[in-house]
Amino acid sequence: MAELTYIEAINSALREELARDRGVYVIGEDVALGGPFGATKGLAAEFGERRVVNTPISEGAIMGLATGAAAMGLRPVIEVMFVDFITLAMDQLVNHAAKLHYMSGGQLGIPLTVRVQQGAAGNGGAQHSQSLEAWFIHVPGLKVVMPSNPADAKGLLTAAIRDDSPVICIEHRALYWTRGEVPDGEHTIPIGRAALRRPGKDVTLVATSRMVEVALEVAGTLANEGIEVEVIDPRSLLPLDLDTITASLRKTGRLVIAHEAVEGAGFGAELLAQVQEAAFDYLDAPIARVGAPFAPVPASPVLEQAFVPGAERLAGAVRKVVLGA
């Protein structure tokens, strides 16, 4: 075990996969220079600019390039600098990468990995702070993972690169410099398996990405109040490990869902629907969702803080579900 930052863990996954498989390419804006956050630092020097490829600022063409190359059997890993910029590449991602395998009757595989970061942190304002994972889980053919710590960042990215379908690895910018233990050497986490972050018997709290940190903080606080919170990190939103969540509900009977994206039509809404279809009988209380309010992300530090769901709001929601109104 080594202690790495989240961004170092990503770097290490990329380095190992580049070394392991000649078909892996890292492609994107400024990646040969290390990228704006250092995820690809040192890779160009080690593997050459033929495999760590700087591109023009052409998100649409980059996504198309990676999709076409993947259809030919390469394993491109592209970096889209902010999830906000993936809007420029949605045609290639949604119409091509996600569908070519299906439309070709299974003839074409698209082993494509899209690395992208998101989240409200650092007052970037509405075009540099969104959380858009719900868009992607609505597209059959894509897989969507959201690592919440350095070990998962490495394990999920490695699994994504080895997957034969397009996988979007959504990182959280605010987690980049957080540290954690990461297994040495090859480390993969199967896509579609949730992680139990803290056991508890009173309520299940499903949290994604940076909200896992917040959920654990809340669980600690509420333990002092006599509420035992079970925290589950789905890690992969598509495919979703519903079994782990329903197994927990069987024990707790109560569910709170937390994500940083706006609440409306978000992952929480989808999970809520799936849970009530699969585990309605286990539920002892209405399910609660905690997400950002339905607004673009504001720039002011004060407004941004009000926008991002925090521990206090989450604790309130959990108390309400457990104790009733």
Binding site: E29, I57, G124, G125, P298, A299, L303, E304
Partner: protein
């Protein structure tokens, strides 16, 4: 330049350029002092382009700009107090703290939008040109954008429509990668385009294009004047590439005053310029312009220093105003989602 501007206009242009330079230097220092601003992009070294071009616009004209917008807003007359307040996320900011540096905009001054997406401002500028033409208004739309935009498909889609429909649009490409100081050191990228020069990409569309020294107010003024006249006379769009050399302190996310504060006296005492930065200041439009004024005897050192002192004093007050201004009510985060 000086033949076309009277002394008052010449000094007003200097004031605008100084205002932009000092505004951003102040911002960098404020961030260094520990006040949270988030990542921002500076216009240092490019002031001449925005100041000279925007001075020619009429009140009804529209502007679309980018993540590097402070200079454009100030040149158009934005109040530095409210702009600082916006960047610091205060309620008194132009956008009530919701835009911040990347999306600061002042509709009352003809700013359509400030898009932080590379290429995002360009179709918006074309849309404003379309509206002006439809409404029969004598209005020109000017889109300011960086050289990286020429790598985005949306630029070509926009240029094609502007040309096809002869829209009153000026495409003002601010190429701050010229000579790309620091690019070789891997500090920031230059444009990645296969053409020999940027203006080549425009040629097939039949849009008149010219490349000028973005640090030469006369050159910027000449081409902008022609472009505006063409647009107002129904002649359609023009593409201008204003070339400047990137300021070494303009790192991608966190600008640093690596060259120190600009000393206007560099213009008449070049020996005072730190050795390491002589190349850059030799190209700096602001210092070159001060020297021109000085050489043409339009202003003496005392007048220039006095103007600079006034600008700095005003900006210090503006920054104090912004720092002391209250933050917005957190509940206001939900206001203005819909019109």
């Amino acid at each position: 330049m000086t033949s076309e501007l009277n002394q008052q206009e010449a000094m007003e242009l200097l004031r605008t350029m100084l205002l932009i330079r000092r505004f951003e230097e102040g911002l960098i220092q404020t961030q260094k002092s520990g006040i949270s601003i988030g990542h921002f992009h500076v216009y240092i070294g490019q002031e001449c382009t925005g100041a000279a071009a925007i001075a020619l616009l009429e009140p009804q004209d529209k502007i679309a700009t980018t993540h590097r917008n402070h200079g454009h807003l100030l040149a158009r007359g934005a109040d530095p107090r409210r702009l600082y307040a916006e960047i610091l996320g205060k309620a008194a900011g132009y956008n009530k703290g919701k835009g911040g540096t990347l999306h600061a905009t002042v509709a009352g001054l003809g700013f359509l939008s400030t898009s932080a997406l590379v290429g995002g401002a360009v179709p918006l500028a074309v849309g404003a040109g379309f509206a002006a033409k439809q409404l029969g208004e004598r209005c020109v739309s000017v889109g300011f954008f960086g050289d990286g935009v020429l790598e985005e498909g949306v630029f070509f889609e926009s240029l094609n429509m502007a040309s096809l429909w002869k829209l009153p649009v000026v495409f003002m490409c601010e190429n701050n990668s010229a000579g790309a100081l620091g690019q070789s050191a891997g500090e920031y990228p230059g444009s990645t385009i296969a053409t020999k020069q940027l203006i080549d990409v425009v040629a097939p569309f039949g849009v008149p294009a010219s490349a000028v020294d973005g640090g030469d107010p006369r050159a910027v003024r000449d081409v902008t004047q022609q472009a505006l006249a063409r647009a107002r006379n129904g002649g359609g769009p023009t593409f201008i590439e204003a070339r400047t050399v990137r300021w070494p302190g303009s790192r991608p996310l966190w600008p640093e005053l690596s060259t120190g504060e600009t000393d206007v006296a560099f213009a008449w005492e070049p020996d005072r310029i730190p050795m390491a930065h002589r190349d850059w200041f030799a190209n700096d439009g602001l210092i070159r312009y001060v020297r021109q004024l000085f050489d043409a005897k339009l202003a003496n050192t005392k007048e220039i220093l006095a103007l600079d002192a006034t600008v700095r004093a005003d900006l210090a007050k503006a920054m104090r105003f912004a720092i002391e201004a209250p933050y917005p009510d957190p509940a206001s985060a939900l206001d203005d989602v819909f019109a």
